[in-house]
Subunit: 219 residues, 2 copies
Protein backbone atom coordinates (compact mmCIF):
# COMPACT_ATOMS: atom_id res chain seq x y z
CA UNK A 1 0.00 0.00 0.00
CA UNK A 2 2.35 2.65 -1.23
CA UNK A 3 0.72 5.99 -0.89
CA UNK A 4 2.19 8.76 -2.97
CA UNK A 5 -0.56 11.25 -2.28
CA UNK A 6 1.47 12.56 0.61
CA UNK A 7 4.74 12.76 -1.29
CA UNK A 8 6.90 15.82 -0.67
CA UNK A 9 6.78 18.48 -3.32
CA UNK A 10 10.01 20.44 -3.12
CA UNK A 11 10.40 23.86 -4.73
CA UNK A 12 10.42 22.37 -8.21
CA UNK A 13 7.11 20.55 -7.48
CA UNK A 14 8.58 17.18 -8.32
CA UNK A 15 6.73 14.33 -6.63
CA UNK A 16 9.07 11.89 -4.90
CA UNK A 17 8.54 8.31 -6.05
CA UNK A 18 7.88 5.53 -3.54
CA UNK A 19 11.07 3.78 -4.71
CA UNK A 20 13.17 6.82 -3.73
CA UNK A 21 11.35 7.09 -0.40
CA UNK A 22 12.12 3.46 0.39
CA UNK A 23 15.83 4.13 -0.17
CA UNK A 24 16.07 7.16 2.13
CA UNK A 25 16.29 5.25 5.43
CA UNK A 26 19.15 3.18 4.03
CA UNK A 27 21.11 6.34 3.20
CA UNK A 28 20.38 7.56 6.70
CA UNK A 29 21.67 4.32 8.20
CA UNK A 30 24.91 4.40 6.19
CA UNK A 31 25.49 8.06 7.01
CA UNK A 32 24.93 7.33 10.69
CA UNK A 33 27.51 4.53 10.56
CA UNK A 34 30.01 6.81 8.77
CA UNK A 35 29.45 9.52 11.35
CA UNK A 36 30.05 7.04 14.18
CA UNK A 37 33.27 6.01 12.48
CA UNK A 38 34.44 9.62 12.37
CA UNK A 39 34.15 10.09 8.60
CA UNK A 40 33.75 13.81 7.87
CA UNK A 41 33.09 13.82 4.16
CA UNK A 42 32.40 11.30 1.42
CA UNK A 43 32.10 11.35 -2.35
CA UNK A 44 29.07 9.86 -4.06
CA UNK A 45 31.49 7.34 -5.59
CA UNK A 46 32.75 6.14 -2.20
CA UNK A 47 29.24 6.07 -0.79
CA UNK A 48 28.04 4.12 -3.83
CA UNK A 49 30.75 1.50 -3.35
CA UNK A 50 29.84 1.03 0.29
CA UNK A 51 26.11 0.89 -0.40
CA UNK A 52 26.36 -1.17 -3.57
CA UNK A 53 24.24 1.23 -5.64
CA UNK A 54 25.42 3.48 -8.47
CA UNK A 55 26.84 6.93 -7.73
CA UNK A 56 24.41 8.30 -10.28
CA UNK A 57 21.45 6.88 -8.36
CA UNK A 58 22.71 8.47 -5.15
CA UNK A 59 23.05 11.86 -6.84
CA UNK A 60 19.63 11.55 -8.47
CA UNK A 61 17.97 10.48 -5.21
CA UNK A 62 19.50 13.31 -3.21
CA UNK A 63 18.81 15.86 -5.93
CA UNK A 64 15.12 15.31 -5.25
CA UNK A 65 15.70 17.16 -2.01
CA UNK A 66 18.06 19.81 -3.23
CA UNK A 67 21.35 17.96 -3.68
CA UNK A 68 23.53 18.59 -0.58
CA UNK A 69 26.75 17.75 -2.43
CA UNK A 70 29.48 20.08 -3.64
CA UNK A 71 31.40 19.44 -6.84
CA UNK A 72 34.91 18.31 -5.92
CA UNK A 73 34.13 17.98 -2.22
CA UNK A 74 31.41 15.35 -2.04
CA UNK A 75 29.03 15.26 0.88
CA UNK A 76 29.60 16.53 4.40
CA UNK A 77 28.53 13.44 6.36
CA UNK A 78 27.19 15.15 9.48
CA UNK A 79 25.26 17.77 7.51
CA UNK A 80 23.75 15.21 5.15
CA UNK A 81 22.88 12.88 8.04
CA UNK A 82 21.08 15.71 9.84
CA UNK A 83 19.27 16.85 6.70
CA UNK A 84 18.19 13.29 5.88
CA UNK A 85 16.88 13.01 9.44
CA UNK A 86 14.75 16.11 8.89
CA UNK A 87 13.45 14.80 5.57
CA UNK A 88 12.45 11.56 7.32
CA UNK A 89 10.69 13.54 10.06
CA UNK A 90 13.03 12.22 12.75
CA UNK A 91 13.46 15.71 14.22
CA UNK A 92 9.75 15.66 15.12
CA UNK A 93 7.98 13.99 18.03
CA UNK A 94 7.00 10.52 16.87
CA UNK A 95 5.06 8.90 19.68
CA UNK A 96 4.05 5.32 19.05
CA UNK A 97 1.56 3.04 20.77
CA UNK A 98 1.70 -0.71 20.26
CA UNK A 99 -1.51 -2.73 20.13
CA UNK A 100 -0.64 -6.27 21.09
CA UNK A 101 1.94 -6.81 23.84
CA UNK A 102 2.99 -10.32 22.86
CA UNK A 103 6.52 -11.22 21.75
CA UNK A 104 6.42 -9.06 18.67
CA UNK A 105 4.98 -6.02 20.47
CA UNK A 106 7.60 -6.46 23.19
CA UNK A 107 10.34 -6.80 20.57
CA UNK A 108 9.32 -3.45 19.10
CA UNK A 109 9.17 -1.85 22.55
CA UNK A 110 12.63 -3.21 23.32
CA UNK A 111 14.21 -2.01 20.08
CA UNK A 112 16.91 0.49 21.03
CA UNK A 113 17.35 1.74 17.51
CA UNK A 114 13.86 3.23 17.39
CA UNK A 115 14.51 5.34 20.47
CA UNK A 116 17.83 6.58 19.14
CA UNK A 117 16.04 7.73 15.97
CA UNK A 118 13.47 9.80 17.82
CA UNK A 119 10.66 7.28 17.98
CA UNK A 120 9.17 6.98 21.41
CA UNK A 121 7.02 4.06 22.49
CA UNK A 122 4.56 5.61 24.94
CA UNK A 123 2.25 2.68 25.66
CA UNK A 124 1.42 -0.93 24.91
CA UNK A 125 -2.11 -2.32 24.93
CA UNK A 126 -3.42 -5.82 25.24
CA UNK A 127 -6.53 -7.78 26.17
CA UNK A 128 -4.56 -10.39 28.10
CA UNK A 129 -4.82 -9.74 31.87
CA UNK A 130 -1.48 -11.52 32.40
CA UNK A 131 0.25 -8.87 30.30
CA UNK A 132 -1.66 -5.81 31.51
CA UNK A 133 0.31 -3.95 34.19
CA UNK A 134 3.67 -5.29 33.01
CA UNK A 135 6.34 -2.84 31.92
CA UNK A 136 8.55 -3.30 28.87
CA UNK A 137 11.64 -1.09 28.98
CA UNK A 138 9.73 1.13 31.37
CA UNK A 139 6.65 1.37 29.16
CA UNK A 140 3.42 0.13 30.69
CA UNK A 141 1.08 -2.42 29.17
CA UNK A 142 -2.49 -1.09 29.48
CA UNK A 143 -5.80 -2.84 29.13
CA UNK A 144 -7.18 -2.26 25.64
CA UNK A 145 -10.22 -0.63 27.27
CA UNK A 146 -7.94 2.26 28.23
CA UNK A 147 -7.10 3.02 24.60
CA UNK A 148 -9.60 5.82 24.10
CA UNK A 149 -8.63 7.71 27.26
CA UNK A 150 -4.95 7.24 26.55
CA UNK A 151 -5.14 8.57 23.00
CA UNK A 152 -7.15 11.57 24.21
CA UNK A 153 -4.54 12.42 26.83
CA UNK A 154 -1.37 11.77 24.78
CA UNK A 155 -0.08 12.92 21.46
CA UNK A 156 0.05 9.64 19.54
CA UNK A 157 1.39 9.77 16.01
CA UNK A 158 1.63 6.10 15.06
CA UNK A 159 -0.07 2.89 16.17
CA UNK A 160 1.77 -0.38 15.62
CA UNK A 161 -0.54 -3.35 15.23
CA UNK A 162 1.01 -6.57 16.48
CA UNK A 163 -2.16 -8.51 17.10
CA UNK A 164 -3.92 -11.40 15.38
CA UNK A 165 -5.37 -10.99 11.91
CA UNK A 166 -8.89 -11.60 13.21
CA UNK A 167 -8.72 -8.66 15.61
CA UNK A 168 -6.72 -6.16 13.57
CA UNK A 169 -9.40 -4.65 11.28
CA UNK A 170 -11.73 -3.65 14.15
CA UNK A 171 -8.84 -2.10 16.09
CA UNK A 172 -7.65 -0.25 12.98
CA UNK A 173 -11.12 1.27 12.61
CA UNK A 174 -11.20 2.16 16.29
CA UNK A 175 -7.81 3.88 16.01
CA UNK A 176 -9.04 5.81 12.99
CA UNK A 177 -12.11 6.96 14.91
CA UNK A 178 -9.73 8.20 17.63
CA UNK A 179 -7.85 10.28 15.08
CA UNK A 180 -4.76 8.13 14.55
CA UNK A 181 -3.85 8.39 10.91
CA UNK A 182 -0.71 6.30 10.66
CA UNK A 183 -0.67 2.54 11.16
CA UNK A 184 2.37 0.31 11.23
CA UNK A 185 0.68 -2.97 10.53
CA UNK A 186 2.19 -6.39 11.26
CA UNK A 187 -1.07 -8.33 10.96
CA UNK A 188 -1.42 -10.29 7.69
CA UNK A 189 -4.50 -8.39 6.55
CA UNK A 190 -5.31 -5.30 4.48
CA UNK A 191 -7.61 -2.64 5.93
CA UNK A 192 -10.55 -0.95 4.34
CA UNK A 193 -9.96 2.55 5.69
CA UNK A 194 -10.41 6.09 4.36
CA UNK A 195 -7.72 7.57 2.14
CA UNK A 196 -6.29 9.86 4.81
CA UNK A 197 -4.82 6.93 6.77
CA UNK A 198 -1.24 5.98 6.03
CA UNK A 199 -0.54 2.28 6.39
CA UNK A 200 2.93 0.79 6.36
CA UNK A 201 2.76 -2.98 6.26
CA UNK A 202 5.32 -5.45 7.56
CA UNK A 203 3.96 -8.76 6.36
CA UNK A 204 6.37 -11.35 7.73
CA UNK A 205 4.68 -14.31 6.07
CA UNK A 206 4.93 -12.62 2.70
CA UNK A 207 8.60 -11.87 3.29
CA UNK A 208 9.47 -15.49 4.11
CA UNK A 209 7.40 -16.71 1.14
CA UNK A 210 9.35 -14.41 -1.17
CA UNK A 211 12.55 -15.95 0.16
CA UNK A 212 11.13 -19.45 -0.31
CA UNK A 213 10.22 -18.59 -3.91
CA UNK A 214 13.76 -17.41 -4.57
CA UNK A 215 15.28 -20.54 -3.00
CA UNK A 216 13.16 -23.00 -4.92
CA UNK A 217 13.35 -21.21 -8.26
CA UNK A 218 17.09 -20.68 -8.36
CA UNK A 219 18.07 -23.88 -10.12
CA UNK B 1 18.98 -6.91 -2.11
CA UNK B 2 16.61 -8.15 -4.77
CA UNK B 3 18.23 -10.99 -6.56
CA UNK B 4 16.83 -11.87 -9.95
CA UNK B 5 19.59 -14.27 -10.90
CA UNK B 6 17.52 -17.07 -9.48
CA UNK B 7 14.27 -16.03 -11.10
CA UNK B 8 12.13 -18.79 -12.56
CA UNK B 9 12.33 -19.23 -16.29
CA UNK B 10 9.07 -20.81 -17.42
CA UNK B 11 8.74 -22.51 -20.82
CA UNK B 12 8.80 -19.19 -22.65
CA UNK B 13 12.08 -18.27 -20.88
CA UNK B 14 10.62 -15.06 -19.48
CA UNK B 15 12.40 -13.91 -16.31
CA UNK B 16 10.00 -13.03 -13.50
CA UNK B 17 10.56 -9.52 -12.19
CA UNK B 18 11.11 -8.88 -8.46
CA UNK B 19 7.94 -6.75 -8.42
CA UNK B 20 5.85 -9.71 -9.58
CA UNK B 21 7.57 -12.00 -7.09
CA UNK B 22 6.73 -9.63 -4.24
CA UNK B 23 3.05 -9.76 -5.21
CA UNK B 24 2.79 -13.57 -5.27
CA UNK B 25 2.44 -14.10 -1.49
CA UNK B 26 -0.41 -11.59 -1.41
CA UNK B 27 -2.30 -13.52 -4.09
CA UNK B 28 -1.66 -16.66 -2.06
CA UNK B 29 -3.04 -15.02 1.08
CA UNK B 30 -6.21 -13.80 -0.64
CA UNK B 31 -6.79 -17.18 -2.28
CA UNK B 32 -6.34 -18.89 1.09
CA UNK B 33 -8.95 -16.59 2.61
CA UNK B 34 -11.37 -17.24 -0.26
CA UNK B 35 -10.87 -20.97 0.10
CA UNK B 36 -11.58 -20.78 3.83
CA UNK B 37 -14.76 -18.89 3.04
CA UNK B 38 -15.90 -21.64 0.68
CA UNK B 39 -15.47 -19.67 -2.55
CA UNK B 40 -15.02 -22.16 -5.42
CA UNK B 41 -14.24 -19.87 -8.33
CA UNK B 42 -13.50 -16.21 -8.89
CA UNK B 43 -13.10 -13.93 -11.89
CA UNK B 44 -10.02 -11.73 -12.22
CA UNK B 45 -12.42 -8.78 -11.95
CA UNK B 46 -13.79 -9.91 -8.57
CA UNK B 47 -10.32 -10.76 -7.31
CA UNK B 48 -9.06 -7.37 -8.47
CA UNK B 49 -11.79 -5.57 -6.55
CA UNK B 50 -10.99 -7.46 -3.37
CA UNK B 51 -7.25 -6.96 -3.72
CA UNK B 52 -7.42 -3.39 -4.95
CA UNK B 53 -5.23 -4.02 -7.98
CA UNK B 54 -6.29 -4.04 -11.63
CA UNK B 55 -7.70 -7.18 -13.23
CA UNK B 56 -5.18 -6.73 -16.00
CA UNK B 57 -2.29 -6.82 -13.53
CA UNK B 58 -3.62 -10.03 -12.02
CA UNK B 59 -3.90 -11.64 -15.45
CA UNK B 60 -0.43 -10.46 -16.42
CA UNK B 61 1.13 -11.63 -13.16
CA UNK B 62 -0.45 -15.07 -13.37
CA UNK B 63 0.35 -15.42 -17.07
CA UNK B 64 4.01 -15.43 -16.09
CA UNK B 65 3.36 -18.88 -14.69
CA UNK B 66 1.04 -20.19 -17.37
CA UNK B 67 -2.23 -18.45 -16.70
CA UNK B 68 -4.51 -20.79 -14.70
CA UNK B 69 -7.68 -18.97 -15.74
CA UNK B 70 -10.34 -20.02 -18.22
CA UNK B 71 -12.20 -17.55 -20.40
CA UNK B 72 -15.75 -17.17 -19.08
CA UNK B 73 -15.07 -19.19 -15.92
CA UNK B 74 -12.37 -17.26 -14.10
CA UNK B 75 -10.08 -19.03 -11.66
CA UNK B 76 -10.72 -22.17 -9.69
CA UNK B 77 -9.76 -20.99 -6.21
CA UNK B 78 -8.50 -24.25 -4.79
CA UNK B 79 -6.47 -25.13 -7.88
CA UNK B 80 -4.92 -21.67 -8.12
CA UNK B 81 -4.15 -21.64 -4.38
CA UNK B 82 -2.38 -24.98 -4.66
CA UNK B 83 -0.47 -23.96 -7.78
CA UNK B 84 0.62 -20.67 -6.17
CA UNK B 85 1.81 -22.64 -3.17
CA UNK B 86 3.97 -24.79 -5.46
CA UNK B 87 5.36 -21.71 -7.21
CA UNK B 88 6.28 -20.28 -3.79
CA UNK B 89 7.97 -23.54 -2.81
CA UNK B 90 5.53 -24.12 0.04
CA UNK B 91 5.09 -27.77 -0.97
CA UNK B 92 8.78 -28.34 -0.13
CA UNK B 93 10.46 -28.83 3.24
CA UNK B 94 11.43 -25.40 4.52
CA UNK B 95 13.27 -25.88 7.79
CA UNK B 96 14.27 -22.67 9.53
CA UNK B 97 16.67 -21.98 12.37
CA UNK B 98 16.50 -18.73 14.29
CA UNK B 99 19.69 -17.10 15.53
CA UNK B 100 18.75 -14.89 18.46
CA UNK B 101 16.09 -16.14 20.87
CA UNK B 102 15.02 -12.76 22.22
CA UNK B 103 11.52 -11.33 21.81
CA UNK B 104 11.75 -11.13 18.05
CA UNK B 105 13.15 -14.65 17.64
CA UNK B 106 10.44 -15.95 19.96
CA UNK B 107 7.79 -14.03 18.03
CA UNK B 108 8.89 -15.78 14.84
CA UNK B 109 8.96 -19.16 16.56
CA UNK B 110 5.45 -18.54 17.89
CA UNK B 111 3.98 -17.49 14.56
CA UNK B 112 1.27 -20.00 13.69
CA UNK B 113 0.96 -18.81 10.14
CA UNK B 114 4.47 -19.93 9.22
CA UNK B 115 3.74 -23.49 10.33
CA UNK B 116 0.49 -23.60 8.40
CA UNK B 117 2.39 -22.55 5.27
CA UNK B 118 4.92 -25.34 5.52
CA UNK B 119 7.71 -23.49 7.30
CA UNK B 120 9.09 -25.40 10.21
CA UNK B 121 11.19 -23.80 12.92
CA UNK B 122 13.58 -26.55 13.96
CA UNK B 123 15.84 -24.72 16.41
CA UNK B 124 16.64 -21.42 18.09
CA UNK B 125 20.16 -20.39 19.07
CA UNK B 126 21.41 -17.83 21.53
CA UNK B 127 24.46 -16.91 23.57
CA UNK B 128 22.41 -16.04 26.64
CA UNK B 129 22.56 -18.88 29.20
CA UNK B 130 19.20 -17.76 30.62
CA UNK B 131 17.55 -18.54 27.28
CA UNK B 132 19.45 -21.72 26.39
CA UNK B 133 17.42 -24.81 27.28
CA UNK B 134 14.08 -22.99 27.06
CA UNK B 135 11.46 -24.22 24.61
CA UNK B 136 9.35 -21.93 22.43
CA UNK B 137 6.29 -23.72 21.06
CA UNK B 138 8.14 -26.96 21.62
CA UNK B 139 11.30 -25.81 19.84
CA UNK B 140 14.47 -25.82 21.91
CA UNK B 141 16.84 -22.89 22.37
CA UNK B 142 20.40 -24.17 21.89
CA UNK B 143 23.70 -22.61 22.80
CA UNK B 144 25.19 -20.93 19.75
CA UNK B 145 28.19 -23.25 20.12
CA UNK B 146 25.90 -26.09 19.02
CA UNK B 147 25.21 -24.43 15.67
CA UNK B 148 27.75 -26.36 13.62
CA UNK B 149 26.69 -29.78 14.90
CA UNK B 150 23.04 -28.93 14.53
CA UNK B 151 23.35 -27.79 10.93
CA UNK B 152 25.37 -30.92 10.06
CA UNK B 153 22.66 -33.15 11.53
CA UNK B 154 19.56 -31.35 10.22
CA UNK B 155 18.38 -30.19 6.86
CA UNK B 156 18.29 -26.43 7.38
CA UNK B 157 17.06 -24.33 4.48
CA UNK B 158 16.82 -20.85 5.99
CA UNK B 159 18.45 -19.04 8.91
CA UNK B 160 16.57 -16.11 10.44
CA UNK B 161 18.90 -13.55 12.04
CA UNK B 162 17.25 -11.79 14.96
CA UNK B 163 20.37 -10.66 16.75
CA UNK B 164 22.16 -7.35 17.23
CA UNK B 165 23.71 -5.56 14.31
CA UNK B 166 27.19 -5.92 15.81
CA UNK B 167 26.98 -9.71 15.87
CA UNK B 168 25.06 -10.39 12.66
CA UNK B 169 27.84 -10.20 10.02
CA UNK B 170 30.08 -12.78 11.74
CA UNK B 171 27.15 -15.16 12.21
CA UNK B 172 26.09 -14.69 8.58
CA UNK B 173 29.59 -15.71 7.46
CA UNK B 174 29.56 -18.67 9.81
CA UNK B 175 26.19 -19.79 8.42
CA UNK B 176 27.54 -19.47 4.89
CA UNK B 177 30.56 -21.61 5.79
CA UNK B 178 28.11 -24.22 7.08
CA UNK B 179 26.33 -24.27 3.72
CA UNK B 180 23.23 -22.22 4.54
CA UNK B 181 22.44 -20.17 1.46
CA UNK B 182 19.29 -18.32 2.48
CA UNK B 183 19.20 -15.68 5.21
CA UNK B 184 16.12 -13.94 6.55
CA UNK B 185 17.80 -10.95 8.07
CA UNK B 186 16.25 -8.70 10.71
CA UNK B 187 19.49 -7.01 11.77
CA UNK B 188 19.92 -3.46 10.42
CA UNK B 189 23.05 -4.28 8.46
CA UNK B 190 23.96 -5.43 4.96
CA UNK B 191 26.25 -8.44 4.51
CA UNK B 192 29.24 -8.83 2.31
CA UNK B 193 28.65 -12.40 1.19
CA UNK B 194 29.19 -14.37 -2.03
CA UNK B 195 26.58 -14.14 -4.77
CA UNK B 196 25.10 -17.56 -4.13
CA UNK B 197 23.53 -16.46 -0.83
CA UNK B 198 19.95 -15.22 -0.93
CA UNK B 199 19.20 -12.52 1.62
CA UNK B 200 15.71 -11.30 2.39
CA UNK B 201 15.86 -8.27 4.66
CA UNK B 202 13.23 -7.11 7.13
CA UNK B 203 14.58 -3.78 8.27
CA UNK B 204 12.11 -2.57 10.88
CA UNK B 205 13.82 0.78 11.45
CA UNK B 206 13.69 1.53 7.75
CA UNK B 207 10.02 0.61 7.63
CA UNK B 208 9.09 2.96 10.49
CA UNK B 209 11.22 5.74 8.97
CA UNK B 210 9.38 5.37 5.67
CA UNK B 211 6.11 5.79 7.56
CA UNK B 212 7.51 8.82 9.39
CA UNK B 213 8.53 10.36 6.07
CA UNK B 214 5.03 9.86 4.71
CA UNK B 215 3.44 11.38 7.84
CA UNK B 216 5.58 14.48 7.90
CA UNK B 217 5.51 15.13 4.17
CA UNK B 218 1.77 14.80 3.66
CA UNK B 219 0.80 18.41 4.14
Amino acid sequence: MDDVRGAVKPANEKVISPAVIKRLPRYYRYLGDLLKNGVVRISSKELSERMNVTASQIRQDLNNFGGFGQQGYGYNVEFLYREMGKILGLDKTNNIIIIGAGNLGQALANNQEFASNGFSIVGLFDVNPRLVGMAVRGVEVYDIDMLEDFVRDHEVMIAALTLPKSKAPAIAEKLYSLGIKALWNFAPVDFNLPDDVLVENVHLSESIMTLSYRIHSRN
